[in-house]
């Protein structure tokens, strides 16, 4: 259907229908990336082939509740893109020249930038006991899943290296001296 491309302006299309088409595409994109990270399979369409606009701001009175808030959706799209990058750079079959720990640190840097770029209402502060927007919670859980996927590629030694040099050392680092949480695997790592 060509939903990965913008409908040309020459084609008369209602703005609501156009935005609906865009958002359905991006939902399919999120699902594709989500399934590929869960199952470890390649995703269906590469980012380079996608030329469609990101969701627009449609929150005016004429929309009658058709469209949700834009910022949350865009944040989810960018996190999905990141998660696909994680699978490709860390679990991809191609031989990697850079060490695994460097690739993991690079991913954590990208994840940190994503987290810092979130609008305030989508950030979850675990120290504050206030009701949290369910969309923020959902995004945080997706973010945690991507972090865990990044980490689980490491053996214990690499885990310590990344935990010491990366953004916020995972709290689990203190426990891994007592037990190995990362099953050793024959690797694709460096």
């Amino acid at each position: 259907m060509g939903m990965h491309l913008n409908v040309p302006d020459s084609v008369p299309l209602d703005p609501v229908a156009r935005e609906h088409r865009h958002r359905v595409w991006w939902t399919a994109y999120i699902y594709d990336r989500m399934w590929s990270t869960i199952l470890g399979y390649p995703h269906a369409i590469s980012d380079e082939a996608i030329k469609v606009d990101l969701p627009a701001d449609m929150n005016d009175s004429s929309n009658s509740g058709n469209f949700s808030e834009r910022a949350h959706f865009v944040a989810r799209i960018s996190l999905s893109r990141l998660s696909a990058h994680v699978v490709r750079s860390i679990y991809g079959p191609a031989v990697q020249e850079t060490p695994l720990s460097s690739r993991v640190q690079s991913v954590f840097t990208d994840l940190r930038k994503w987290l810092e770029g979130l609008p305030a209402f989508l950030k979850v502060d675990p120290g504050r006991m206030v009701p949290v927007d369910p969309r923020a919670s959902s995004l945080q859980m997706m973010f945690n899943q991507v972090c865990i996927q990044t980490v689980c590629s490491l053996n214990s030694t690499d885990f310590y290296m990344v935990a010491c040099h990366s953004c916020d050392p995972p709290s689990v680092a203190s426990r891994s001296s007592q037990q190995s949480i990362i099953p050793r695997r024959p690797t694709s790592s460096s």
Binding site: T27, S64, N66, H72, P134, I148, S180
Partner: protein
């Protein structure tokens, strides 16, 4: 020595997991590491299997009454619509009203879309614990997936919406499976 729960000794029929990034063994170890209490492996074997769903496809699926139908669609719009965008509210509400007045007046694709929305709505509104045989929305889901038999020559947005709804529903059903 007994094999771990995630190792299926029925080798010829075991799906060959080619993914490293999905690791249920790691998930269990991680939970054990971050918790102060002892954690057991989650069995992850209680999910509706393909044969059960195919059998459900062949059975009659009573449609919900008007009040419940509107309730289920509204639940699907609010729950799934919070994180994703699949249905356009004004369109699906209009389609539902036309369906309720005269089921034959809507196409099979719209009917399947509504069935998929009922499945999602029932999924999100059920509060009781469930088993494989009583999985919420499964009857509507089984009926809706019959549309997948058709590969449309000229797909439209309704087909895409239906497939996304079915994927969402299947994801929730499969959360208790190991893959």
């Amino acid at each position: 020595m007994r094999a771990p729960w995630f190792v299926d000794v029925n080798v010829p029929h075991t799906p060959i997991l080619i993914a490293e990034s999905s690791d249920s063994a790691f998930a269990t170890r991680f939970r054990q590491a971050i918790s102060n209490e002892s954690q057991r492996h989650l069995p992850r074997v209680d999910y509706p299997d393909d044969e059960y769903i195919l059998n459900l496809c062949e059975r009659d699926c009573p449609m919900p009454g008007p009040v419940r139908a509107r309730y289920l669609v509204e639940a699907a719009l609010r729950s799934l619509g919070r994180s994703f965008h699949i249905l356009l509210r004004t369109i699906v509400v209009d389609e539902l009203e036309r369906f309720l007045q005269s089921p034959e007046s809507v196409s099979i694709f719209v009917r399947s879309k509504l069935l998929a929305a009922f499945a999602i709505g029932e999924l999100y509104t059920t509060r009781a614990s469930v088993t494989m045989s009583s999985f919420p929305g499964l009857t509507y889901f089984a009926r809706a997936i019959r549309v997948l038999q058709i590969v449309p020559e000229r797909p439209n947005i309704t087909v895409i919406e239906t497939k996304l709804l079915l994927a969402s529903s299947r994801l929730c059903q499969s959360l208790a499976s190991p893959y």
